[in-house]
């Protein structure tokens, strides 16, 4: 039983770090800042959460602390990503030429 739990935990850890690798690759390869924010925040959040679950399978006695870290990351990470994207938009960062729709600019344009 313990060996199977260890194997599941190690596989989850591997999946989590694979998502971290994909996030890093997106951070290097994406064309403009907004796409990099997507890749660098969403993929790494999912990767870290999967890694936390994997470590929880490997060491069940640490579950409470891991749950606390996971809840905290889940609350704060999307918030910081949104604040960063808004700051980038307000300071007039250039968009990629392939960008089709920008609803924040439409909203700001309609405001009196």
């Amino acid at each position: 039983m313990g060996a199977i739990l260890d194997l599941i935990g190690a596989l989850l850890l591997l999946a989590g770090t694979s998502f971290l690798l994909l996030g890093g690759l997106g951070l290097v390869r994406m064309p403009d800042i907004y796409n990099r924010i997507q890749a660098g925040t969403k993929a790494t959040t999912l990767g870290t959460l999967l890694s936390l679950v994997g470590v929880g399978f490997l060491h069940p006695e640490w579950s409470l602390k891991l749950l606390l870290i996971g809840v905290f990351l889940l609350f704060t990470n999307p918030l910081s990503s949104q604040v960063l994207a808004r700051a980038a938009h307000r300071t007039g960062t250039r968009k990629s030429p392939a960008t089709v729709v920008d609803q924040l600019e439409d909203d700001l344009g309609e405001r009196p």
Partner: protein, 86 residues
């Protein structure tokens, strides 16, 4: 079996760390570097998890909690600095 998989996961996390560090060095604009800083903090949390696994000590996870808090505060401060300059 499980040990080898954990070692492979650590190597993959190291490659991800190097990729994000490259964006921090290269990044043309300050916002790029802030994103890379946030990403490096998050990858460091995974590094702390591996350190806790290697040393078998649960107290290391408290540092990861402090890291999650600090990453959030740092990004908020720098974004506010970019937007309004305090």
């Amino acid at each position: 079996m499980a040990e080898a998989l954990v070692s492979l996961a650590a190597i993959i996390a190291g490659v991800a760390f190097l990729l994000v560090l490259w964006r921090f060095i290269k990044g043309p604009s300050p916002v790029d570097r802030i994103i890379a800083f946030d990403g490096l903090t998050i990858v460091s949390i995974t590094g702390i998890l591996f350190a806790a696994l290697a040393a078998e000590r649960g107290i290391y996870l408290d540092v990861a909690l402090v890291y999650a808090l600090l990453s959030f505060l740092g990004v908020i401060v720098v974004a506010r600095f970019l937007e309004r300059g305090f």
